[in-house]
Amino acid sequence: MTQVETRSAAAPAVAGPAPRFKRGREAVTGWLFVAPFVVLLVAFLLLPMAYAFKLSLYRSTLIEGEHFALFENYTQAFKDPLVREGVVRVILFGLVQTPVMIGVALLAALLIDHATSRFSRIFRLAAFVPYAVPVVIGTLMWGFLYSKDTGPFGSVLHIDFLSSSWVLASLGNVVTWQWAGYNMIVLYAALQGLPREVYESARIDGAGPAQIAWRIKTPMISSAIVLATLFTILGTLQFFTEPLILQPLNPGSITQHYTPNVYAFNQAFSFQQYNYSAAISFLLGAVVFVGSYIFLFATRKRSAL
């Protein structure tokens, strides 16, 4: 999203030297093109964020009503062991999930790029289909598949996939299933854009297909990999839908504070703690922002973003 923003905002500026009146008119035209986006951005992102920030500075209790509390909610969130538990879980989840996700997507993209038969199109579509399934429906479907009594795996393997020792891996599986195809398409598109003559010279130099894939193709699409990784990190930090949908199946292992987002949701809509919920959401937003910035900074040489 950030990229779209900067690019479209920068568009009028690249117009170059031109007579003053013309530049003015072009600027207006440029703004007209950007206007729908700006309106949506303000209405659905900036205004709600400002409102949430205002909410987070107040405190409303059942008995005493609402009062200005400055950063009281934030201090509480920092001290709240349930928030900390969620954050730690999400980070742990991300550390495992992100490499697995990108690895699977990259492998699939390289394989499909290498295969020249017409089956590669079918594989490409098949890998992408899960992304076309709405997250809620996909998660519900996995909920049935995971069932220990009636699901196809549980009854054979005698594993309770939603028990506390398995649940994180099970959720990871749902997320990978859902998003690997999408990331794969991003990486595959980047592979399609590479100049073919590079492969040829590599072959002449004696490189095999595996070497070409690992030493030529992968480094050349590093900016796409960085982009896909960024999406994955953003998604992981906001981990919400999957645990929320699967929660009723085993509330003992997927608690109501499972991830910071789920916790914020429950604070607002189950316990009427709108202010505290806003503070947690705002903190989470800050973490997402800082996290993605650090990642981009660390990979700036490769990413070109």
């Binding site: 059942l62 008995i63 009636t150 199946l249 608690t255």
Partner: protein
């Protein structure tokens, strides 16, 4: 009465529609999730010309409450009349979002309800909701499986456990006496209510003071009992409302189902294939020969502070499932499987003598009605969603990690007390 309102209406709408006063029927917006409610609404609209109900199904339980909270917080968008479960009422009373229906004649209905049910919805002369249905508890059991495994109907919880052990041996561990749904705060509270637990001492006339005893002795007794049942492999722990749970009810994995008054209808819809095999018996007792009962669920109609015409809204709340509205109750009983709270409906032949094919022709209300009448008064906290959350989180966590259930109650007690203090309550 209908004739009267008809007459009144026709005289007023006789021409002077330009007089500035609205001449058409008053529209009352209602949120409810009762099954087959459309028919009840149609019935109401076809028999009234002064009021027209506009019904929305805003989701069941928490789904509806989430929308309602948001609308109340926003200051607009809430309905005039809303379906609320008993345990939710204090929350909305305290935040002053409910209209005192006593002002519009709701107190006249008091005599139609048993004491505990009326106390759930009122405070002195103030009436915050009209009760509709309740959930007295009973034990539904598979008669065929009881015969097959040689079980007898348990009258006490001790006997219940003995039968469970017998079942475990007879079925080689394939069948469970029941499933304990640790994800349902209402179910667990119903069971502790029967044992005499009083988790909250709360009176909305003194709203800032509350007594909290989530971990009182009766509650601990109940939880220790079920901890033993689960540890012994006598009760399963599938979450209620899940596919595995329904599957267990239909496949004979569970030979009893501890149900509320609305349970027979619910069971009939989720375990259709077992029709005719179930029977109902009273809930087992803690002391032999006693008649202690608990309630699980129960709903009412309340009028919100956003009602444009609170008087008309009160009228709707009083009349939709009114005690004399036999036609509406016929739908409510036959199609929606509601357990009526109004005594005249409860004691009518249509309800008391109704035979249920699903229960092999048994008149199951013989079991539920006496249970309903024996329920002791009970008070809820004004933060029930937090309360239920603590209960379910604690007990589910204990089930999952195989830790002590009574320790979970102690933790819940500490958390709820802390929450109440943060909310500004004086905790006694």
């Amino acid at each position: 009465m209908t004739a009267l309102t008809l007459a009144a209406c026709s005289s007023s709408s006789d021409g002077d529609s330009d007089a500035g006063t609205p001449s058409g029927p008053v529209t009352v917006k209602v949120w409810a999730w009762y099954p087959s409610f459309q028919k009840v609404v149609d019935l109401y609209n076809s028999t009234h010309t002064d009021i027209k109900i506009e019904w929305t199904n805003a989701g069941a339980g928490q789904d509806e409450y989430t929308k309602l909270q948001t609308a109340l917080k926003a200051g607009k968008g809430a309905p005039d009349v809303v379906m609320l479960e008993f345990q939710e009422l204090p929350t909305y009373q305290l935040t002053k979002h409910l209209v005192d229906m006593g002002k519009y004649g709701a107190n006249d209905l008091k005599s139609q309800y048993v004491d505990w049910a009326w106390k759930q919805v009122s405070q002195g002369d103030k009436v915050y909701a009209i009760p509709v249905d309740a959930g007295p508890m009973a034990m539904l059991y598979r008669e065929d499986l009881f015969k097959q495994y040689g079980l007898s109907i348990p009258k006490t919880w001790d006997e219940y456990k003995q039968q469970a052990e017998k079942l475990k041996t007879a079925s080689a561990g394939k069948a469970f006496m029941t499933d304990f749904g640790g994800n349902d705060g209402g179910f667990m509270t119903g069971l502790t209510w029967q044992a005499g637990s009083k988790p909250y001492t709360y009176d909305t006339s003194n709203p800032s003071t509350i007594g909290i005893a989530v971990n009182d002795e009766p509650a601990k007794k109940v939880m220790t009992y079920w901890e033993g049942m689960v540890a012994g492999g006598l009760a399963d722990t599938k979450a209620y409302g899940t596919t595995d749970f329904y599957n267990g009810l239909g496949s004979g994995k569970y030979v009893t189902y501890l149900a509320a008054g609305w349970g027979p209808g619910y069971l009939a819809s989720v375990a259709k294939t077992t029709a005719g095999k179930w029977r109902a018996a009273p809930l087992p007792q803690w002391t032999a020969g006693a008649n202690d009962q608990g309630d699980w669920g129960g709903s009412s109609f309340a009028v919100t502070d956003q009602a444009k015409n609170p008087e008309a809204a009160t009228k709707v709340a009083m009349e939709i499932y009114g005690a004399t509205n036999t036609a509406a109750w016929k739908i409510g009983i036959d199609e929606a499987y509601l357990f009526p709270t109004a005594t005249p409906v409860l004691e009518s032949d249509a309800f008391l003598k109704k035979k249920y094919d699903f229960f092999g022709g048994q008149t199951v209300n013989d079991v539920f009605v006496p249970a309903y009448k024996a329920i002791a008064p009970f008070s809820w906290s004004p933060f029930n969603s937090y309360n239920f959350n603590q209960l379910t989180t604690g007990i589910n966590g204990a089930i999952e990690k195989k830790t002590s259930w009574t320790a979970a109650l102690d933790t819940a007690q500490a958390n709820v007390t802390q929450y109440a203090t943060q909310q500004g309550f004086k905790v006694q």
